[in-house]
């Protein structure tokens, strides 16, 4: 599919927000899914780059992605301009499973794991009012989209150095006595592990979004697997994931 770039905004020193519109099955998008983007017509890079869908607007027929520049592919993406076109496939993967109505929910995002939770929070708002949003960043300069989330619910922010919000980690802000029923998270693998440990012993459904280097992005190559909790099975992150119940997978 060819989508038009309708906006590109620099959020932090190396994080960018890109808006796309054009023919795309917007209705089919499940929060937590991703698109797979071809870089420069595949000329310099034969593998597409997977980027999560941060927001989808079915009316305006547009979708938003947010990415961090870490290499040549994301560097190229950051240089796109309004009017350029992106060759993408998607939506891909299995997204977040929504909770029962009026559940008590906490959403925890870390760094570049924050934006994939935005569409989820938008949908959660339709289902429940008991929603806590915890966001973690390295420092104030790395913070983004905090106000955007604040419009949808109560937001707690942790930064490693305390330059914004509370000093510390997201786990410091996650009250295990708050009787949360559902936890949704996206962020570095270490943060997801810490969260799961932190919630050990409490009765909570945890859903986490995982990452792995991908080739096909559609489930055909078995490149992007993660282990089941008992390590006896593999799941394809691009097809059975990227979102898993954290009881199912070995973090």
């Amino acid at each position: 599919m060819l989508l038009d770039v309708t906006g590109i905004t620099n959020l932090t020193s190396n994080i960018w927000e890109l808006c796309l519109s054009g023919p795309f099955p917007y209705q089919r998008v499940q929060a937590g899914q991703f698109i797979n983007i071809l870089i420069n017509q595949g000329k310099d890079h034969i593998l597409r780059r997977p980027i999560s869908i941060a927001e989808v607007d079915t009316n305006k027929k547009s979708l938003t992605i947010v990415f961090r520049v870490v290499g040549q592919g994301t560097e190229w993406l950051s240089q796109r301009q309004v009017g350029d076109q992106l060759n993408i496939i998607g939506p891909l993967g299995t997204g977040f499973q929504l909770p029962a109505k009026n559940s008590k929910v906490v959403v925890v995002g870390g760094g570049i794991g924050v934006p994939p939770l935005y569409q989820l929070v938008k949908e959660l708002k339709q289902i429940t009012n008991d929603l806590t949003i915890i966001l973690g960043f390295r420092n104030q300069a790395d913070c983004f989209w905090v106000e955007r989330f604040a419009k949808l619910g109560q937001v707690l922010v942790a930064t490693n150095d305390g330059s914004f919000g509370t000093k510390g980690f997201v786990t410091d802000l996650l009250d295990t006595k708050a009787n949360y029923e559902y936890l949704y998270s996206c962020g570095p693998r270490g943060m997801l592990q810490a969260l799961k440990n932190h919630c050990q012993g409490i009765n909570i459904q945890g859903y986490v979004s995982l990452e792995e280097r991908m080739a096909c992005g559609v489930g055909a190559c078995y490149g992007c697997v993660c282990s089941s909790a008992d390590r006896k099975l593999h799941y394809r992150i691009c097809k059975e994931g990227p979102v898993f119940n954290w009881e199912e997978v070995a973090l």
């Binding site: 071809l38 890079h45 096909c216 055909a220 593999h234």
Partner: protein, 304 residues
């Protein structure tokens, strides 16, 4: 010539066109059937199937390199039983010939998988994978020595009722030797090439990117080596050759056909463009129409 005939025959197997997805790059067909009807393809070649289920190697098991990628999947597959009960019945309904890629660690294992696949009745042909570089360092046990290869082929042929294609490894000193041995042992056709063995090091972590350290190099980077091997093998065998390695366009496919291949397989290109196979089929047809070529027989091996 507005309607060239793309049909080819491979050891009795009739294909409506010479383009098939390469093993391991197309799962068992389900995923890409979301993009186009599989019946457009010459055949579907499924992921390497082994006797027992295999998880494969730890991750990362894919990474990109210049004009290619490295993979160290390590023959991950659900095992022959599940392949026969859960994957092939679906694929058999897609109106496209099925070729099952078979791998193993021992002659016995190969034979048992081939026998079960052959008996299942789902496969129109079997592709014997004796060239997977990712199972262990210094592997290739069956694909590097002509005598060992010939023995395996003879045993496997006894238990197979369908044509047997042998997929050769490019990581050898003399590909012609192996091709000749495979033909003499009874192979009905040869597929080449599998991946070249490669490695990428991340200079930041100072370690190999792949958990398995080495992996198989595929994509445009290997095309010249692949074309050369097809060309060399076409000079010494009479059985049909299926060429592959870096095919992204009709032009690429035609290079292989002119080098002597009867058909081609498309691997990595599916990842870049899920519509790669239909696109390549169309480009071959366009070239034939433009150049007034009525059948691929006319140009097969014309560069020899």
């Amino acid at each position: 010539m507005s309607n060239p005939n793309l049909a080819v025959e491979l050891a009795g197997l009739k294909l409506k066109n010479p383009v098939m997805p390469a093993s391991g790059c197309f799962g068992f067909g389900r995923e890409y059937s979301n993009y186009y009807p599989l019946s457009q393809l010459g055949a579907v070649v499924v992921k390497a199937t082994t006797l027992e289920p295999r998880l494969g190697n730890p991750t990362p098991r894919v990474t990109e390199v210049t004009a290619g990628m490295l993979n160290a999947i390590g023959l991950a597959n659900p095992g022959v039983e599940k392949v026969i009960t859960q994957e092939l019945p679906w694929l058999a309904k897609q109106d496209v010939p099925i070729i099952v890629n078979v791998a193993g660690s021992t002659e016995r294992e190969y034979c048992r998988v081939v026998e079960e696949i052959s008996n299942s009745g789902y496969a129109q042909a079997i592709e014997l994978n004796v060239s997977c570089p990712n199972v262990k360092l210094g592997g290739l046990t069956f694909g590097a020595d002509p005598k060992v290869l010939a023995n395996l082929i003879k045993k496997v042929k006894k238990v197979s009722a369908v044509p047997l294609f042998v997929k050769l490894s490019p990581n050898v000193t003399d590909i012609q030797d192996l091709a000749i041995a495979a033909e003499a042992a009874g192979a009905d056709g040869l597929s080449l090439i599998n991946t070249l063995i490669g490695m990428q090091i991340d200079i930041k972590t100072r370690k190999p990117v792949l958990a398995n350290k080495i992996g198989g190099l595929s994509g445009p980077a290997i095309k010249p080596v692949a074309v050369r091997m097809v060309y060399q093998v076409a000079q010494v065998v009479k059985i049909p050759i299926i060429g592959m390695g870096g095919i992204y366009s009709g032009i690429d496919a035609l290079e292989f056909i002119m080098a002597g291949a009867s058909a081609v397989m498309v691997g990595t290109a599916n990842f870049t463009n899920p519509m790669a196979c239909p696109k390549i089929i169309k480009e071959i047809a366009d070239f034939m129409a433009a150049e007034g070529i009525e059948s691929l027989e006319e140009i097969r091996g014309c560069a020899l």
